[in-house]
């Protein structure tokens, strides 16, 4: 089967973010595969290992995003596709979904598209369901386990992770799924994989290649606008270190403070 896995390039999760002249910066922290997408990559590769076929990794982003496709190929993906166009700078979740869906359609024979549950920069979690809607495929979010993939009958059985616990359900293929951390333990790229990735050809598709019109999909005037971005307000004041003659005495003082703060 043909498996698509959609990933994003984000600043490393350990990066300290700052805003300089209205622009977001992360100093010299590296750009990485969005941490949630590592689970999507791993699940895509495991699905191929079980059912055969091939895995295509897609990323929407600037030229620098090529690096995360190399990571994807080094982990075991077969092909990397970059969706890159100047007109896509700052596009919102809905437009991102439109472009990804068009690219998945262009691949032709994809039966399942796998996403991480959200990206750690925008943090909206809106894209996977939007892609499913655009394609007319079954959306299945927050997947914690793929129990069975019945390609013959075009069904997928999964467990989803909800606030209340796990929900077991069965959906029709083709499907777009988003996965959570519980689903697997992502592998590290192998030495052979890294060598393969360094030589791999990466397809680059711009909007024209996808048959999309920049004006028609309103690229550039994203319907969700970021009016302002700023550091988070500082937490008030320095820590009060509670000291006392004994641990019991410390506990008394701390309990007094917390009750005075009305948080207990």
């Amino acid at each position: 089967m043909h498996i698509a896995v959609c990933i994003k390039q984000t600043p490393d999760s350990a990066a300290s973010m700052a805003v300089v002249d209205g622009e977001v910066t992360w100093g010299d922290a590296s750009m990485v595969v969005n941490p949630w997408d590592e689970y999507a990559l791993e699940e895509a590769i495991r699905t191929r290992e079980q059912h055969g076929g091939h895995v295509t990794a897609l990323v929407l982003g600037p030229e620098s995003a090529r690096e995360v496709l190399k990571t994807a190929i080094a982990m075991g993906c077969d092909l990397g596709v970059m969706l890159s166009d100047e007109a896509l700078a700052g596009c919102d979740a809905r437009m991102t979904a439109r472009v990804l869906a068009t690219a998945i359609e262009k691949l032709g024979d994809v039966e399942i598209a796998i996403f991480g549950k959200q990206a750690i920069d925008g943090d909206t979690g809106l894209v996977p369901v939007s892609v499913a809607c655009t394609l007319g495929w079954t959306p299945i979010s927050y997947v914690a386990e793929i129990n069975e993939m019945d390609v013959q009958n075009a069904r997928i059985m999964v467990a989803r992770s909800l606030e209340e616990g796990r929900q077991n359900c069965s959906g029709a293929l083709p499907a777009v799924i988003s996965v959570v951390k519980e689903i697997n333990e992502p592998r590290y790229p192998s030495f052979i994989g890294i060598r393969k990735a360094s030589k791999a050809e990466i397809l680059v598709w711009d909007l024209a290649e996808l048959g999309l019109d920049a004006v028609e999909i309103k690229v550039g005037e994203s319907s969700v606008t970021w009016d302002d971005i700023r550091p988070i307000p500082a937490r008030g004041g320095a820590v009060e270190l509670i000291q006392g003659e004994s641990m019991e005495a410390i506990a008394v003082i701390l309990a007094d403070r917390l009750m005075a703060d009305r948080v207990i």
Binding site: S13, A14, S16, M17, P35, A93, R94, A97, D121, G122, D123, T124, G125, L126, V127, V129, S130, C133, T134, P139, S141, A159, S161, L162, E164, R166, Q167, N168, C169, S170, G171, A172, K181, E182, S223, V224, T225, W226, D227, I229, R230, P231, I232, P233, R235, G236, V239, E240, L241, I242, M247, E248, I250, A251, L254, A255, L258, D261, V263, I264
Partner: protein, 327 residues
């Protein structure tokens, strides 16, 4: 009066999530600014009680869609019914809590109605009819003000525990029955069953969280953490280090690749406070750090700190609260 601010009442098997009522509270304020009223979307099967509760929380109108195909939340079924209704009724604003269901539903609505969705708000302001939303981005390291000025409706999800839950009062709403939009064959997804997690207090709804990290040293080390949590009626959290070590299940993880929480009180026991952990708990009102290492970054965020071994400090605190709370 028209009811042009809509709220999706998120529920599980007829039980509303606290975040649904918090969203009702925020909706009331938006509606007042827009000089309109609040309508609740109550979708499900056998959910008449929820319609009354929505009225008690301030809904003037309830769109009640009661259908067997809506017994479980399925985004295609809920979304199709909501989209059809929105096309007919043209609300100005649709709000939902940013729960798993709220996020999925709004993504689908955004697609169907051709508008962008503003996700995960923690504060709202209405200026000239536009809803400006403050939301954490980059895992909570920055705040952005986000809006969709040209969108009709403006669709916004709100983070649980970011808005106060209003006091319910006996309310009366006009209840309008709405038909489901899809038949079972059109939905493409069937729910088999649920394996609910043990009846623990949900981290995202919790007022108090007691969390353990690397310092607990092993699965047994969570015992004092658990004791304090039980005494305080708190949920139990954990850092990634403790989860990855296999000491406690992933469902307890707080942080960038775990849950984002906003309790009134967060007691971090043996947690150093790596930036990824901070991402999940920095919006807690009061943070208490208990750690042997006085240099641990968690002390920079904490209001109160105890530099001590958690195995001494946590049981002492438990005893003190048992005494005070009469347990």
């Amino acid at each position: 009066m028209a009811s042009n601010v809509w709220v999706y009442i998120d529920h599980f098997q007829g039980q509303a999530l606290p975040a649904a009522w918090e969203t009702m509270g925020a909706a009331g304020e938006v509606a007042a600014e827009l000089n309109t009223g609040v309508a609740a979307l109550v979708f499900g099967h056998g959910v008449d009680d929820l319609a009354q509760q929505a009225a008690d929380y301030g809904a003037e109108k309830v769109f009640l869609c009661d259908d067997v195909t809506l017994a479980d939340f399925r985004v295609l079924a809920y979304g199709a019914a909501a989209a059809k209704l929105a096309v007919a009724e043209t609300p100005e604003v649709i709000l939902a809590p940013s729960t798993t269901r709220g996020r999925d539903l709004t993504a689908l609505l955004g697609f169907e109605l051709g508008v962008g969705v503003v996700a995960d708000g923690i504060a709202l302001k209405v200026v000239d009819g536009v809803v400006y939303v403050t939301r954490p981005v980059y895992a909570g390291k920055l705040h952005a003000t986000v809006s969709a000025p040209g969108a009709c409706p403006q669709i916004v999800t709100l983070r649980p525990r970011a808005f106060p839950r209003p006091e319910p009062a006996m309310g009366k709403a006009e209840v309008l029955q709405v038909e489901a939009a899809l038949s079972e064959e059109d939905i493409g997804l069937q729910v088999t069953d649920y394996a609910a997690s043990a009846s623990e207090i949900s981290l995202t709804d919790a007022r108090i969280i007691v969390s353990g990290g690397r310092g607990v040293g092993g699965p047994d080390g969570f015992e004092p953490v658990r004791q304090l949590a039980v005494t305080l009626g708190a949920a139990i959290g954990a850092s990634r280090a403790a989860v990855d070590a296999g000491w406690i299940p992933y469902s307890h993880q707080v942080g960038q690749t775990g849950k984002t929480v906003s309790p009134d009180l967060y007691i971090a026991c043996g947690i150093s406070g790596a930036i990824q952990h901070q991402a999940g708990m920095r919006t807690a009102k009061v943070i208490v750090a208990i750690n042997k290492d006085s240099e641990a970054p968690i002390f920079k965020m904490a209001k109160y700190g105890v530099v001590a071994d958690l195995f001494d400090a946590v049981p002492a605190l438990t005893e003190e609260f048992k005494r005070r709370l009469g347990k």
